[in-house]
Amino acid sequence: MKASTQWIKELLPSLKANPAAIERRLTAAGLEVEGVEREADAFVGVVVGEVKEVSPHPGADQLKITKVYDGENEHQVVCGAPNVEVGQKVPFATLGAKLPNGMEIGRRTIRGVESFGMLCSAEELGLPKDVDGLMILKANTKPGKPIAEVLGKKDVLFELSVTPNRPDVLSHFGLARELAALFELEAPQVSVKLKEGKKAAKQLAQVEIQDPLRCPKYAARVITGVKVGPSPDWVKARLLSVGQRSISNVVDATNLVLMELGHPLHAFDLGRLAGQKVVIRTASVGEKIGLLDGTSRDLSADDLVIADAEKPVALAGIMGGANSEVHEGTTQLLLESAYFEAASVRRSAKRHGLHTEASHRFERGADFSMVEQALDRVAALIVELAGGQVEKGRLLAGQQEEKPKIVGVRPERATALIGRPIGKKEVKDALTALGLVAVKPPAKKKGTPNLGKEALWFRVPSHRVDLVAEVDLIEEVARLAGYDQIPTAMPPGARAVWTKGKELNAEQALRHHLAGEGFLETIALAFHSEAEAEVFGLELPRAVRLANPLGEETRLMRMSLLPALVKAARLNQDHLPSLVDLRLFELGRTFRWAEGQTAGLPEESLRLGVLWRGARQPTGWSNKAVGVDAYDLKGLLEGVLSAFGIGEVRYEAHEAPHLHPSSGTRLVLGGVVLGSFGQLHPRVAERLGLEGPPVWVADLEVSALEKARGARPQFQPLAKFPPAQRDLSFFLDRHHLAEQVVAAIRAASANDALESVKIFDVYEGQGVPVGKKSMAVSLVFRAKERTLTDAEVEGAQRSIVAALKDQLGAEVRMA
């Protein structure tokens, strides 16, 4: 909210603090001043100038060359205003000045004549236009005086960030009331002098509430004989200073009182209300209303409206209707001041996508006892601005008084919660300053908390809708003294915990492992578009969909980390120069509904996504680019698994829509799938616009890794006896897998001391029969307690050779 300090001080004349002190105090009390605007800042560099000479411009009839005195020097200024005359005092924008319309004043040459500044019209200074041409100041104004001073532009405006619990400070009066408490001044009062006419208002109009729950109170007044027209300048200027446009004297009066007292008001053209009455009721289905903003709305049975005898004429607490709008010919007014239930206004405002000054306040809670005061104040102001006669009496419907709100507070509870001694006196003084009234303890009954004998009880004024429980009063006491009065202390020692969750440990370990392998961590927005999910062949029926996405890109919660990584590859490929050597990873959750799930939360799975493409190693003067292949990626994953102490994982061929059939593989451990990897399917790469080297991707489930984490490795005694190494080379059918070879070798030497098997060569091509491949393995034998004899090693080797031949048809070429 924008607030004027001048206005506040008019309402609280005893407030002498300067704007900076007010700003500090408000912020310290929880009413944060987010920005400060000095009116004078809009006129920096503009001073009073005295016109000393006027001569014609040799190059243009409409222009004149003037000499202007700024209190110290004379300046030559080219001027195009028709009314410039010698001796005038005018606003003079000196070099470097910046006008409210954004214009910066520099030295210029106009039709061959130099000009050092500018003489201004009222419009150029952002003021209401008075005459054509220059703004003429009083003859006795002193040249050189800043124009802001001459115009009385000395207000300081605050941009306040008001939290939703404090509707009571959404007005200048509310702020004055709060500042009176903060600066220990007497609270301001609303005083209205209203002269009523002789005719009884109730003979001119009627009000009726049909929905007392949503509108518990409605007050109205009738004014006759008004003359609608423009507002005087002071009203325009005041509204403008707090960011409001002037409309007409009547409407401006309602807005001005809204800004002053914080209570929303509305003026109907009484002549346009059918049956001279208003009814507060819910709309019927099918009813429509045309609003002041020019839109037409279909109403629902949950919309509260103000209607006349025939039709809705306003959306209650939100906006008036066009059909009852005050216009130039209006002479009779029905002024509305009402109390609408917050939730009711909010539901309607949300449904219609409307947010107005009125709805903003009603949604947060209006002040029940301000209804009549605001009504009288606006009536008086309208008569002042637009003439006419306030007719006798208020038209009232609904309850007159709100049920008093009594809240208790225990000083010892305040002491315990705040952490500094808070006594009875402090509680009483602080709350009284805020307008609460000490009362006797209420009679015990159901619903009131039993706070014991020591509690103090208060009646909460109707404007403090946020004070409902003990803790709210405790906050007021703490807030008024300021949080800097609270000591800083460490909590008493309690049981120590010192643990992180298992999954988070795993996440951190993976993150550091991959960064150590040269991968960059990314964080992507956790959404997919439908199209993306489709390209990756994700299971769309199980997608978690947003009901209110921001656009295509945020339609689904993501089901895989890979689309974002692939999109990142595309983005980096588009750089100049193109970046195709990429190592990226992300740790994040994926979302999906379980099959047929209808209740509860969707599944969330923390996953690791990896993308690798381009050179295996950074290239340079000494090494040429070698592209990453499936075995680089597998090696990376083996490293990850080994960091988790996971061995014995099976690598099974895996068909997935996003993986190339030549390399799609999944990692399986004891029947549990840990994840998958492989080359991104060329179709996917193409559809996402990837060019250049193949893209390799992997996807692991972090919780599965954590569950599979191996036991802490135990130390094994170092081998005392020498190993024997034998190499074998053989041909076998190319469809046999390395896994089968190793399994056959291990099985054949189950009782021998085979320590390790390592495949060190695989070859197809020249010298190898068609349909076959050549493979070479290195075998290491070792016994724990003795040196193996040659005969033993050879025996073991023979059974391995035999097994390879029998099981895989391998022909050993070399031993």
Binding site: A28, A29, G30, E32, G35, P164, N165, A342, A343, E363, A416, I418, G419, V471, E475, R479, Y483, D484, I486, P487, T488, A489, P491, P492, A496, V497, T499, K500, E503, H512, A515, E517, G518, L520, E521, T522, I523, L525, A526, F527, V544, L546, A547, N548, L550, M557, A568, N572, L579, D581, L582, L584, R589, F591, W593, P602, Q617, P618, W621, S622
Partner: protein, 358 residues
């Protein structure tokens, strides 16, 4: 050669030996630092046909009673002279070898060969790890909760009533029902605070937890991303007061930003009462006022407060027995400030030029 032959015929008398020694000295001077000359000298004197070798051999021709003495004398001389020569040769040879090594000097201004490029953790996660380290050392335990959350935990239990404007503070993404017919009571969590209500309900008091993670708001512009990060803290126990809130948060902020001043202001969040907004002395200007801090000298860093009794009640914790404080702060802004990142969008765009420079 003629000298060799001549000397071979001479017996190793003291005079002869003195003569040989003198010659050795002279030649040593002549050879100087010439390694070749010194090696030649070595064979002239000590080689198989060298002068001293010949003199040793001639000892055998002396009468038996002279042999022992002449032999000892000659050997003595051989050792002395050869040692002198060898010391000189070794010294020169090591200088030569050193020169040889120097000739193979590499150009190490050429760039090194990397096994792999430098990897990097995402700045947001680096800040999370740092915060988690500080807070776990203060006795907080890590907790997590779902990102697709029920309205109850995200709003209702946290004292955000339905149709209340406090919900406007957080633009919410809602979840469509799986059959596509309507909207569920599910939301994308708008803050990490539902972890408070979940854990309080599940584990009761006393409780000390922190919960970092992703949160979502239906908002996207230059300063807002539909997804960002927060960390939540909750400390509930008997006798916890606002003084303890100030103590813990002051220590946390000092550890994170250095001691640059902390300011506590009243504010409002539905799930705390009293509510607090915490500012840290501006890290850009040090508190003197600059554009970043809007000339206030302070940067808003976190929201906090004493857990609202209603929240405790909603989680079946007795608010008369237990009190506590909660806090929450945005991580992304801390990361941006720490590395001078000027645009939030960089964080989530996966641009390698961004990720690899921090």
């Amino acid at each position: 050669m003629s000298t060799e032959v001549e000397s071979a015929q001479k017996a190793p008398t003291p005079e002869v030996l003195a003569e040989v020694e003198r010659e050795h000295e002279e030649e040593l001077v002549t050879a100087g630092d010439n390694l070749e000359a010194l090696n030649r000298m070595r064979s002239q004197f000590f080689g198989p046909k060298g002068r001293i070798t010949s003199l040793l051999r001639s000892v055998g021709q002396l009468p038996a009673e002279q042999r022992r003495e002449a032999g000892a004398r000659t050997n003595q001389l051989k050792q002395t002279l050869e040692a002198k020569l060898v010391v000189r040769i070794n010294a020169l040879e090591s200088v030569e070898k050193e020169k040889e090594l120097r000739r193979s000097r590499l150009d190490l201004t050429l760039p090194g060969r990397l096994a792999h490029p430098r990897g990097a953790l995402h700045p947001v996660n680096r800040v999370i790890e740092e915060m988690v380290d500080i807070l776990t050392r203060m006795g907080f335990e890590l907790a997590t909760g779902p990102e697709v959350e029920l309205d109850w935990y995200n709003f209702e239990a946290l004292n955000f009533p339905k149709d209340h404007p406090a919900r406007d503070m957080q633009d919410t993404f809602f979840i469509a029902s799986p059959d596509g017919k309507g909207t569920l009571e599910h939301v994308l969590r708008t803050h990490t605070s539902p972890v408070q209500t979940r854990e309080l309900e599940r584990r009761g008091a006393p409780l000390r937890i922190i919960a970092p993670g992703r949160v979502y708001r239906c908002d996207s512009d230059a300063t807002h991303s539909p997804m960002f990060h927060q960390i939540e803290g909750l400390w509930v126990d008997e006798g916890v007061s606002m003084a303890h809130l100030k103590g813990v948060l002051t220590s946390f902020i000092n550890a994170l930003f250095g001691e640059r001043g902390v300011r506590f202001r009243p504010s409002f969040f539905p799930f705390v009462e009293p509510g607090v907004e915490v500012d840290v002395g501006c890290v850009f200007c040090g508190g003197t006022g600059c554009r970043v801090c809007k000339h206030t000298g302070w940067m808003e860093i976190l929201g906090a407060g004493m857990v609202h009794p209603k929240v405790l009640e909603n989680c079946k914790v007795d608010p008369e027995r237990y009190t506590g404080f909660a806090f929450g702060l945005g991580i992304d802004r801390v990361a941006m400030q720490r590395w001078g990142i000027d645009d939030l969008a960089h964080l989530f765009r996966s641009d390698v030029r961004f990720l690899s420079q921090l």
